[in-house]
C-alpha cells in the first residue's frame, strides 16, 4: 500500500483526538482523546519506519528500525503519564465529586 493511506489514516485519528480534547468536558474523555493522538503517532511512526526500510534496505540492513523503537518509548512514557494523570483526576474527584472540567474556571481571578 502506498504511504499516503497511512498518513491519511493517522492524520484523521490525530484530528479526531484534537477535536475531542477541544470540545469534550469530561476529564476522562479528554484523556482518552489524548491517548488517541499518541496512538495515531504510533501508527504513522511504524508506517514511516517500514517506508524507510524498503527505501534503504540495500544500503543499510537496519534502516528504519529506530522508528519502531521510538514507538516503545512513546508507550512507556504514555503509561507513566496515565498513572500520574489518573491519580490527579482521582484526587480532584475526592475533593469535588466530579470530573467535569467546567469546574476549572475558579482560578481565573
Amino acid at each position: 500500500m502506498p504511504i499516503n493511506y497511512y498518513i491519511y489514516l493517522s492524520v484523521a485519528l490525530f484530528c479526531i483526538g484534537i477535536v475531542g480534547v477541544l470540545t469534550r468536558r469530561n476529564a476522562i474523555i479528554i484523556f482518552m482523546c489524548i491517548e488517541l493522538m499518541l496512538n495515531a503517532v504510533n501508527i504513522l511512526l511504524v508506517a514511516f519506519s517500514k517506508m524507510h526500510h524498503f527505501k534503504n534496505a540495500a544500503v543499510n540492513a537496519s534502516a528504519g528500525t529506530d522508528g519502531q523503537l521510538f514507538v516503545f518509548f512513546i508507550m512507556v512514557v504514555a503509561a507513566a503519564e496515565v498513572s500520574v494523570g489518573l491519580a490527579i483526576i482521582v484526587m480532584m474527584y475526592r475533593n469535588i465529586h466530579s470530573v467535569d472540567i467546567n469546574f476549572l474556571n475558579r482560578l481565573k481571578h
Partner: protein, 457 residues
C-alpha cells in the same frame, strides 16, 4: 553525563531517605550534598573528567554550551533549596519525595539541554513535565492546587501529542531522528518538513508559555504551591528554552528564512500580552506569572537571532532571570498576603529584605548595573546582528519600559506606603543567603565577563 548519572541516582536515594531518615534536616542535608557533588562533577566534566565511559550512539552530545547551562541550572537549584527548603515542609507530609521529584526534573533538564536526537528531546521534556504535574498538585487538600495540576496535566499531555506528531513528520521527511540530519542548506522544505516544524514550534511555545499558547501559565503558576511555582517559573522554563534554541539551531537553522517571520510575530505577541496583562494584576504572585511570560518574550529573541551573540545572551539571560526570580519568590513565600497591599510598609519592618527585593525587581525590569540589563542588551544585540527586525527591537524596548511600571509598583508599596506588612519570621541564615544572591545579581551586572570568560575558558 556525570551530572545526569548522579542526579538520577540521587532521585532514587531521596525516595528511600524519606523512609530511612526520621529528621527532616537530615533529608535536606542529603539532598544538598548530592546536588553539590553533581555540580562539582559537572564542572569537572567541563575539564575532561568522565566518571564512566558511556557510548551514547550519537543520541546526546555534551558540548560546552550544554555543560555550562547544566552548571547554571544546578547552581540555581542549589540556591533555590537553600532559600526555600523550609517552605517545602509546609506543603505536605512527603517532604523527601519533593526532593526526589526535583532530582528527576534535574535529570530531565540535563537530557533536554544536551540532546542530539529527537528521541532524547521527547524523553527530556517528558521527564521534566511528569514530576511537575505532581509538584503542582502536591497541596492535596487545596482546590486551587488540584485544579492547577489537572489543567497543567491535560494541556501538557496535549502539547506532548503535538510534539510527537511533529517529530514523526520530520522522521518521515528525513528518515532519522538525529537533529543534525534534518535539514541541509540545499533542503527544499516539503510539506512533511513544514508541518513537522510548525507542530514542534507550537508545542515548544506551549512549554515555554509563548503568546498564543500562554493561557495556562497564570492559572497554573497561581494555583501551584508558591515554592514550586518558583522552581517551575525559573529553572524549568530556562531549560525548555535551551532545548528550544538547541533544536532550532541544529535542526532548522538551515531553513531559517522559512520560519523567522512566524517566530518574530510570536515574540512580539508574547511581549505585548505578557507586559500589558501584568499591569492589571492585583496579586504579586500572579503579576510574576505574567512577568515570566513577558521575560519569555525576550528569550524568544534568541531563537529568532540564532547566532553566537544569542547563545551567549541566552546563558546570561537565564542566569539573571533565574537568580532574580528565585530571590523574589523566596521573599514572596514568606509574606502572609500576596497582594500589592501586602507589601505596604515592608521596608520599615525588614530593611534588608526590602533592599534585596529592590535589586531583584530592578534586575527583572532591566535597569543598568544589574544582570537583567545586560541580559536584555545581549538579546537585542543578537537580533540587530542578525539584521532585518528593527521594528521588533523597538517594540521590545517599549515593552521593557512598560514592565518598569508593574515592577516599580512593588517598590512603591514597600517604601512609600504605610502599612504593616505581615511576614513569617525569617532566620539570619536566610538573610545571608538572600543577600548573597542579590550580590551575585549586581556582580553579573557589573562584570558579565566573569560568566563568559568561564564559558570560553
Amino acid at each position: 553525563m556525570n551530572a545526569l548519572i548522579i542526579s538520577a541516582i540521587m532521585g532514587v536515594v531521596m525516595m528511600f531517605s524519606g523512609v530511612l531518615l526520621r529528621q527532616r534536616s537530615a533529608v535536606l542535608a542529603v539532598a544538598l550534598s548530592g546536588l553539590f557533588v553533581s555540580i562539582v562533577l559537572n564542572i569537572m566534566e567541563m575539564y575532561g573528567f568522565h566518571l564512566f565511559k558511556v557510548n551514547l550512539n550519537g543520541m546526546m552530545h555534551f558540548d560546552r554550551f550544554s555543560l555550562f547551562f547544566n552548571t547554571v541550572a544546578m547552581g540555581c537549584t542549589f540556591i533555590f533549596l537553600l532559600l526555600s527548603a523550609k517552605e517545602m515542609e509546609k506543603v505536605g507530609l512527603n517532604y523527601a519525595d519533593y526532593f526526589a521529584l526535583i532530582f528527576f526534573i534535574l535529570s530531565g533538564i540535563i537530557l533536554s539541554s544536551s540532546f542530539s536526537s529527537l528521541l532524547i528531546l521527547f524523553l527530556g521534556i517528558e521527564i521534566i513535565s511528569i514530576p511537575l504535574y505532581i509538584l503542582t498538585g502536591s497541596d492535596k487538600k487545596n482546590l486551587k492546587s488540584n485544579e492547577a495540576s489537572l489543567k497543567y496535566f491535560l494541556l501538557g499531555a496535549f502539547s506532548t501529542g503535538l510534539m510527537l506528531m511533529g517529530i514523526t513528520l520530520i522522521y518521515g521527511h528525513s528518515g532519522s531522528f538525529a537533529i543534525d540530519l534534518v535539514t541541509t542548506p540545499e533542503t527544499k522544505p516539503g510539506i512533511l518538513l513544514i508541518a513537522g516544524l510548525l507542530l514542534l514550534m507550537f508545542s515548544m511555545a506551549f512549554k515555554v508559555s509563548a503568546a498564543p499558547f500562554h493561557f495556562w501559565t497564570p492559572d497554573v503558576y497561581d494555583g501551584a504551591p508558591t515554592v514550586f511555582t518558583s522552581f517551575m517559573a525559573t529553572i524549568v522554563k530556562a531549560a525548555v528554552f535551551i532545548a528550544f534554541i538547541r533544536l532550532f539551531y541544529h535542526a532548522f537553522g538551515d531553513i531559517h528564512e522559512t520560519w523567522k517571520y512566524l517566530v518574530a510575530v510570536i515574540t512580539a505577541l508574547t511581549l505585548f500580552i505578557g507586559n500589558i496583562t501584568a499591569v492589571f494584576q492585583q496579586s504579586v504572585k500572579r503579576m510574576l506569572a505574567y512577568s515570566s511570560i513577558a521575560q519569555a518574550g525576550f528569550m524568544l529573541m534568541a531563537i529568532l537571532a540564532l547566532n553566537s551573540v544569542a547563545s551567549e545572551g541566552i546563558l546570561l539571560y537565564t542566569t539573571a532571570y533565574c537568580l532574580s526570580t528565585i530571590g523574589l519568590f523566596a521573599i514572596l513565600v514568606k509574606m502572609k498576603d500576596y497582594t500589592f497591599e501586602g507589601f505596604n510598609g515592608f521596608a520599615k519592618h525588614q530593611p534588608l529584605l526590602a533592599a534585596t527585593a529592590v535589586i531583584f525587581l530592578l534586575s527583572l525590569a532591566g535597569i543598568p548595573l544589574t544582570a537583567g540589563f545586560l541580559a536584555k542588551f545581549y538579546m537585542i544585540n543578537a537580533v540587530i546582528t542578525r539584521g532585518g527586525f528593527l521594528w521588533l527591537v523597538i517594540f521590545a524596548v517599549l515593552m521593557a519600559a512598560v514592565s518598569v511600571y508593574y515592577y516599580f509598583r512593588v517598590i512603591q508599596a514597600m517604601y512609600f506606603k504605610d502599612g504593616d506588612a505581615q511576614l513569617i519570621e525569617v532566620s539570619p541564615a536566610f538573610k545571608w543567603a538572600i543577600s548573597l544572591v542579590a550580590a551575585l545579581v549586581i556582580l553579573l551586572g557589573v562584570y558579565p565577563q566573569l560568566l563568559f570568560s568561564w564559558y570560553y575558558f
